[in-house]
Symmetry: C2
Subunit: 251 residues, 2 copies
DNA sequence: ACCACAGTATGGTCTGACCACATTCCCCCA
DNA sequence: TGGGGGAATGTGGTCAGACCATACTGTGGT
């Protein structure tokens, strides 16, 4: 793994990607539009179908293309926009490689969820989805069920922030941590405390209290994932910041 | 037997990815380790080399594998960890598709850079890279050159925050906005104001003033990208109440 | 020692074939 | 006339095999 030279000549499939990208920018292709078939694309770009297919795999991985087999208006490759799925795959693999620690992921999620809650509170967006998720959450009995609606609650907050990019990031981060979420409910011995947290978050957002919403989300996540991260907090912290080391990481 | 479900039977290359992923998790493969050759992998997994190659393209796109041609210790496919490149590709394409607005990207970047600066200030990390970038920036003459060292400055902040995930996000966001950065320098008619911003950021981080660093970054980015986003109106949108308040206003 | 060249393993590319699937077409029968 | 059902078609998915470009490795000659 010593120094790789920057002399990499472009591979055929990279050329295909660049051409398609150019077409998106130039011809104004939009989500839902259809791309030429693999064989046709290969002929147009003077490459083999294999190279076209490799390019399609890349674009599919990046969440901008989806392919359907068969025939008819629904078959073929279409432009889509699914950044969240792509991000999830990315995070999952890098977590598996242990190149990103759980702490880093949880920290990033804390950052995004606090930001989302603050913005949601400030925008005064529609909170019906938020309220609905809260009510459903109260009616659950199993941890899995609770986590499901808990996710819906947090997703609703992210969407209320009005930023699709941070929403996608949040979705994928949460997805990466799902297996730890159920575990957290078990560790806490119940959902009572978490429900209180959620009501507090909801109240803060509903009243437009950005700082309160942000703080409530932080408290909530720190309850669910104890032992994470030292925040740059200032005086609003009692100083019991003595992060007693990483807690267990059940698998 | 009839367990095969609904619409999508797994494709061969997806199987290959899953196998490799399992190998990473199970056999404890690490960054720098080498994967079997494409032909060997194809034989092991009973699929064609094409399918293996499509899987490699996906893993390459996600920034976890890198392939080198030729022969010897440096040839073949290796596990790497380059989440930032993958994120950049992802953002670039989605921006091109107009499914993410410039405002959303700038907002996300604002969130991350403020967070990074606050954490860098709180951690008291090594600031030599930061200082060096600042000095080099002062010596530049062209906009392009300035932007280059400006990037180094902000990257140094992100790395000082100690979180590789947020650093990768910041890198890719910045990468997506590079073309707007040079333009911004021209619009401002010079780099004097930006330099002041940088010095203020540097000072805040060096003195451990998390709130000040966060505020300084916000002022800086709002100067560079005017007309973006309404912030949540709260004196505390990062959960950090100013240790010494937001001292100086922009000067 | 050194250099030149053949050997070889690697990814990159291409060709052409066949399969699975889903729609569309069209003929035959009721 | 209407409907049913099989054939035709077009799509991605997969495969096998070949060849190329590259870059190390080994060998032999100087």
């Amino acid at each position: 793994m010593s120094g790789w030279q920057p002399v990499r000549r472009t591979r055929a499939f990279e050329d295909v990607i660049a051409q398609i990208e150019r077409r998106i920018a130039g011809d104004g292709l939009r989500v839902g539009d259809r791309l030429p078939g693999e064989r046709q694309l290969a002929e147009q770009l003077r490459v083999s179908r294999s190279s076209v297919r490799e390019a399609m795999r890349v674009l599919e991985t990046l969440g901008v293309v989806s392919s359907q087999v068969g025939r008819g208006p629904d078959a073929g490759a279409f432009l889509i926009s699914r950044p969240a799925e792509a991000l999830s795959d990315l995070l999952r693999l890098h977590l598996g490689l242990s190149n990103l620690s759980l702490e880093e992921v949880v920290d990033a999620r804390l950052m995004i969820e606090k930001w989302s809650a603050a913005h949601a509170a400030a925008h005064g967006a529609d909170l019906s989805a938020l309220t609905a998720a809260l009510e459903r959450m109260e009616a659950t009995t199993t941890a899995e069920e609770f986590v499901e609606h808990d996710t819906a609650f947090h997703v609703a907050i992210a969407e209320a922030s009005g930023n699709r990019l941070t929403t996608a990031m949040m979705l994928s981060l949460r997805d990466s941590l799902r297996r730890y979420a159920v575990e957290a409910v078990g560790r806490l011995g119940g959902t009572a405390g978490l429900m209180d947290d959620h009501r507090r978050i909801h109240r803060a957002i509903a009243t437009g209290d950005a700082a309160g919403a942000s703080a409530a989300v932080e408290d909530h996540l720190r309850r669910a994932y104890p032992g994470i991260s030292r925040a740059p907090r200032a005086e609003d912290d009692e100083g019991l910041e003595g992060q007693q080391g990483r807690s267990d990481r059940v698998g």
